[in-house]
């Protein structure tokens, strides 16, 4: 027992140690992220001291880019399932050794989600009111309480799966199937649930006709399964470039097929939504009119949404054409997907739900500088988490950090642990 704890602590120490070691590019990248984290921290400190008045939000538009980013990132986290399903259900060989990078991305994305929700709170000091037992979690009535549970549950599931697989690899042991396979399958359903619950957060509000539509849930999933794997395609290429971990082009192209199909479904659902809104007309169309066309001289979101639509359509065409089999074009396409969907789900879904207000008042929203800095800070923090996770995972997967060379670490010469590109 004591040996087991000791071994685990040594493992953790070695992981922490490696996170602080790297070549100049690693230090430069982490340094840059640290700068943004500090800017974000400073901006958040200002927000805590002065209140959410330092954001662009108001009683009219009471949620802004924090919740927009949150919504987008829940999608990114859920998208890990698009690697898990091929590997664990269809025994896909290409993605088999890469699935853990998707799961680690999910962990980083959930950390960002929880940060975005926290910075959106007016009273973060009262977070303990959400903890069942000591607080008053309004479960199952409030969709937000569901979100608290599913997000934290998803975080735990993925931390367990990744942590266990890496620790087994560290010991050169074959992971015990019963100790992770059930969790992998639970995580598949759980991934779908986190994004569905997040959609229900909006869909369940009868007083907001723009959100009160059953198609929001499916649209969320389709857009998540587009933007998430697109992000993973880019991340895998970065990993391939800065380490010598083997990632085949074929794996990237498998992910491309997923992005391709998802984007087509995403655009189709968008068409369904737009048709229903505009053809039927009625009073409920005002938010959509405001979003797509502008309304009575208010049109702050029009350039945003048309950028998103242009990006998404271009990406769809590129994905369908064989040209996106070349990595350069595929990368461009992925960038278009990610940006297009970020705008569509953030500025395009969260904000217009508030405009006009339920009493018909028009009030626009744009994020303030302070709010933007907080967002950059959280993104930088999330990327830093992901970088550190990869920094730990890659040498373990390659066998460079393992139980067998533990002695060298304990004697204080862990030089071999520095994984470097060829």
């Amino acid at each position: 027992m004591i040996t087991a704890i000791r071994n685990y602590l040594v493992f953790l120490l070695r992981c922490i140690r490696i996170a602080f070691v790297g070549d100049w590019r690693y230090y430069a990248w982490m340094g840059l992220l640290t700068v943004f984290c500090m800017l974000g921290l400073n901006a958040y400190a200002k927000q805590l001291a002065n209140g959410l008045v330092v954001t662009g939000m108001s009683d009219q538009v009471s949620w802004g880019v924090y919740i927009a980013n949150f919504t987008f990132l829940v999608g990114v986290a859920a998208a890990a399932v698009m690697m898990v399903i091929p590997v664990y259900i269809y025994d896909n060989e290409e993605l088999h050794d890469l699935v853990i990078f998707g799961e680690l991305l999910a962990v980083a994305a959930i950390i960002m989600c929880l940060s975005f929700v926290t910075v959106d709170l007016g009273r973060p000091d009262r977070f303990w009111h959400l903890i069942p037992g000591i607080g008053q979690l309004n479960f199952p009535s409030s969709m937000l309480s569901w979100d608290v549970i599913v997000l934290n549950g998803y975080l735990l599931l993925n931390v367990h799966i990744c942590g266990y697989l890496l620790y087994s690899r560290y010991h050169h042991r074959k992971p015990a199937r019963w100790f992770y396979i059930p969790f992998v399958f639970i995580a598949i359903f759980w991934a779908i649930s986190i994004h569905t619950v997040t959609a229900f957060l909006y869909v369940g509000l009868g007083g907001r006709p723009f959100w009160n539509s059953a198609i929001i849930g499916p649209r969320f999933l389709a857009s998540a399964f587009t933007a998430g794997p697109a992000l993973i395609i880019l991340a895998l290429q970065v990993i391939r470039r800065v380490t010598n971990y083997h990632i085949s082009d074929k794996a990237l192209l498998t992910l491309r097929s997923i992005v391709q199909v998802s984007m087509i479904i995403n655009v189709f659902l968008l068409v369904c939504e737009i048709f229903t809104e505009f053809y039927a007309g009625g009073l409920h169309v005002v938010s959509s009119k405001y979003l797509y066309l502008g309304f009575h001289g208010y049109h702050a979101l029009v350039p945003w949404i048309w950028t998103a639509i242009t990006f998404n359509l271009t990406a769809m065409v590129l994905l369908v054409l064989p040209v996106s089999r070349s990595l350069r074009w595929l990368n461009l396409t992925c960038a278009l997907c990610i940006t297009g969907i970020w705008i569509e789900k953030g500025m395009g879904l969260v904000i217009p739900g508030f405009i006009p207000t339920p009493l018909g008042e028009m009030a626009e929203y744009s994020p303030s500088l302070n709010e933007t800095l907080v967002c950059f800070g959280i993104w930088a923090f999330g990327l830093m988490c992901y970088t550190v996770f990869l920094r730990m995972a890659v040498p373990i997967l390659q066998g460079n950090i393992s139980k067998s060379n533990e002695g060298e670490f304990l004697q204080g010469s862990p030089r071999h642990e520095v994984t470097l590109p060829q």
Binding site: N42, L121, S141, G206, G207, E361
Partner: protein, 318 residues
């Protein structure tokens, strides 16, 4: 793993003890710089005066407070208010009365749009004057249309009422099925037996989900520390009512709990110069509101189709 020569520069040479002097100095330098940067980043928090206190931080949920706990809490609030405003207020925890369910009736034929109710409400309920928070929003509507999207919110003519318009004040509708209560993740807002939906300002986490859920735009958020001039503070306060709020929590109309649970009319009813506003106990068959709901032919619950079933009725004299 291939090892580039350039890395040797980045990895400190290690002596037999596992730590060289150079690397020790460098590590401490990095560590100190890091701490200094974090301290500098967090510097704005020095302005975080009376954001919360230990007593408030550990305070239990309203419904779990024993009478002794409540006594302490009320004392704490009185002390805080006195410290901040220089006036000793009288803060009570008024409970709903048995056999009472409050209902509000508003006569759209009579309302002249003078907004006296808005300002009486602000004065009575200690709403922030900067930034301005108001519970009642009066809409200027065009005769013949009930479409709120065509309503004017910021009308400002020399005289009201304006020809060709009618006026519709909107405030919390005290729904039977309140969406705000349903969505609150921490039970910080709930419906009392007398029909009033209240907020525990000391329990609200400020997520603003209720504000998104409300179909009547009745809820307001304290985006910053509310500012009330000392000489304007109303010292007659209730815990679930008009005691001063903190930064970062929700508030809204509560039918002037500090008055109505003590047998008085809400401030907006008292101030209305046109006799537009009627308030009373629907469980009492002889009350004015019972008479109105029995005898007036046209009355409207706003957005009835949403199934919220407001306790706030608009009617016309016909």
């Amino acid at each position: 793993m291939s090892q580039e020569p350039s890395d040797k520069r980045n990895i400190p040479a290690l002596d037999a003890d596992g730590l060289s002097r150079r690397s020790f100095l460098r590590t401490s330098a990095v560590f100190t710089t890091g701490l200094a940067a974090i301290a500098a980043g967090l510097a704005p928090l020095r302005n975080l005066k009376d954001f919360t206190s230990m007593e408030q931080f550990v305070q239990k949920y309203y419904k779990e407070l024993t009478p002794e706990d409540m006594e302490k809490v009320l004392k704490r609030i009185e002390n805080e208010v006195e410290q901040q405003y220089g006036i000793r207020p009288h803060v009570r925890d008024l409970k709903p009365m048995n056999g009472v369910e409050f209902v509000y009736c508003l006569n759209l034929t009579r309302c002249i749009g003078c907004r006296k109710c808005v300002h009486a409400c602000v004065a009575e309920n200690n709403q922030s004057r900067n930034p301005e928070i108001q519970y009642i929003r009066v809409l200027q509507m065009t005769n013949g249309s009930f479409d709120m999207e065509k309503a004017v919110h910021d009308y400002d003519p020399a005289e009201v009422p304006q020809k060709g318009h009618f006026y519709m004040p909107v405030q919390c509708q005290q729904c039977h099925n309140p969406p705000c209560v349903k969505v609150c993740p921490v039970h910080a807002t709930w419906q009392e037996t007398d029909g009033i939906t209240v907020i525990d300002y000391d329990w609200c986490i400020g997520c603003r989900y209720c504000e998104a859920a409300c179909p009547y735009w009745a809820r307001r958020f304290n985006f910053t520390k509310p500012a009330i001039p000392k000489d304007r503070l109303n010292p007659n306060m209730a815990y679930l009512g008009n005691r001063p709020r903190k930064q970062g929590v929700m508030e809204k109309c509560h039918f002037c709990i500090q008055r109505t649970r003590a047998g008085r009319y809400p401030a907006c009813v008292e101030v209305c110069p046109a006799g537009t506003r009627k308030f009373g106990n629907i469980l009492d068959p002889n009350s004015e509101v019972s008479y109105i709901l029995k005898n007036k032919r046209v009355f409207i619950q706003l957005k009835e189709e949403l199934g919220t079933s407001p306790r706030f009725f608009y009617y016309f004299d016909v």
